[in-house]
Symmetry: C2
C-alpha cells in the first residue's frame, strides 16, 4: 500500500482533468476495498493513482472536498438503483418492499460508504472523518428520500395506503425502519447477523408496517 505501485504517465496538455477522475475512482476503490475511512488518506489515494500527494491539491482544495465529491457519486449511485427498482415494481407497496431490500443490499455492499453517508455525527467535523451532507440534496425532489415520498404518495392515490397519515411522518418512519436493519447489519459481526437474517428481519418489519398502512386492516 505504501509501495509506489505503478508510475502513472503524465497527462498531456489540456487533459489535466483526467487525473481528477482517476483520483475520485481511487478514492472510491480504496474506501470500498478497505471498508475503513482511516485508510483513505491523501497519501494513500495519491499512491493508488500512481502520483504524489501534492498532485491531489491541483484538483481538490482539500481532503474534505475530495471526500465530498466521492460521496456525491455514491449518493447518485444509490438513488439511481432505487429509482430503477421502483420503476420495475408492480404497484406502490411492491415498490416500497423492493426498494427497501435494494437499499439494504446497497448498504451491506458498501458498508463504510453507508456509515459515512448516514451514520456519522452531524455538523462540520464529520467531514475530516467522513462527510458532511447537504440536506437539500438528501431529502429534496430527485433524491432517494424524494423517491420514497413519491412512492408513498402513489400508494395514497391508489388507495393502497391509509389516507389519514401524514405522508412525511410515514416516510420518515419507513426510512428509519429500513435504515435500522441496514445499520444493524453493518455494525455487527456478519456471523452474528448474516445477510439473509437481515432481509428476513426487514420482511417482518415490512409486514407489520403494511398491515398498519393498509386502509381496511387487511394485510398487503
Amino acid at each position: 500500500m505504501t509501495r509506489p505501485k505503478v508510475k502513472r504517465p503524465r497527462s498531456r496538455r489540456g487533459e489535466g482533468d483526467k487525473l481528477r477522475e482517476e483520483i475520485l475512482d481511487a478514492t472510491e476503490a480504496l474506501l470500498s476495498q478497505t471498508a475503513d475511512r482511516r485508510a483513505v488518506s491523501i497519501r494513500a489515494v495519491a499512491d493508488a493513482v500512481g502520483v504524489t500527494a501534492p498532485s491531489i491539491y491541483r484538483h481538490f482544495p482539500d481532503k474534505r472536498a475530495l471526500l465530498m465529491a466521492a460521496c456525491q457519486r455514491h449518493f447518485d449511485d444509490l438513488q439511481q438503483r432505487l429509482e430503477k427498482m421502483a420503476s420495475v415494481a408492480e404497484g406502490p407497496i411492491d415498490a416500497l418492499r423492493e426498494t427497501g431490500h435494494a437499499y439494504l443490499d446497497w448498504g451491506m455492499d458498501n458498508p463504510e460508504e453507508y456509515r459515512i453517508m448516514f451514520m456519522t455525527r452531524p455538523e462540520s467535523d464529520a467531514v475530516t472523518d467522513g462527510e458532511e451532507m447537504d440536506y437539500s440534496d438528501t431529502i429534496g425532489p430527485g433524491t432517494a428520500f424524494g423517491a420514497l415520498i413519491s412512492m408513498i404518495d402513489t400508494g395514497l392515490q391508489a388507495g393502497e395506503i391509509r389516507a389519514d397519515r401524514n405522508i412525511f411522518d410515514v416516510a420518515i418512519a419507513v426510512f428509519s425502519l429500513v435504515h435500522g436493519v441496514t445499520s444493524l447489519a453493518i455494525s455487527n459481526d456478519p456471523q452474528f447477523f448474516p445477510r439473509t437474517d437481515a432481509h428476513r428481519t426487514l420482511d417482518l418489519l415490512m409486514d407489520w408496517t403494511f398491515a398498519g398502512l393498509a386502509p381496511a386492516g387487511l394485510d398487503s
Copy 2:
C-alpha cells in the same frame, strides 16, 4: 484542554486504584462532553485527570483497554435503566413501549457513546477508534437484549403477543426498529430531526408493530 488544569495530589501508598477510577470518570466525561471520540486521547484523558500521560499505563495496558472499560460501564448503565423502566411498566406491551422510548432517550443523551457501542464497524479495528464488543455480553441473559427477549416472552405467556412468531426474530426486529430511530436521530442535524419527532416516529412504528404482534388483529 491542553492546559494542565489542576495538578492532582498523589494518592497515598496502597490507594493507587483511586486513579484508575478517576481515569475512567474522565474518559466518560470527555466522551460525553465533546461527543467526539477523536477528542479522547491518552493525553487528553491524563490532562483532564491532572496527571501525565504515562500514568495511564500504570492502570491500563493500552488505549484499547481503557476504552473497553469505559464502554462496559455505559452498557451497564443502559441495561439498568431499561430494566428499571420494564419493572415499572404495566404489562409487557407497555414495557416494550416504555423501554423503547427510554432507549431512544439514552441514545440521544449519549450520542457518541451510542455510536461507539452500536454503530461502529465490526471486528478489531473498531477499538482504536471506538470499541469492539463481546457479543456474549451484549445479547446474553442479564443484558439489554436479554431483557428485550424476556419482555417478549412475558407478552407471549400473557397472550398479548401472537404465539406463531419466532421470539428471537421478533426481538431482532423490534430492536432494529428502535435502533433505526435512535441512529437516525443522532446522525442528523437536530434541526432536521428534532427530539420530539424521533419519539413520534418511534410511536408510529410501535403502533404498526403491535398491530402486527397482536393475537387477533386488534391494536394494542
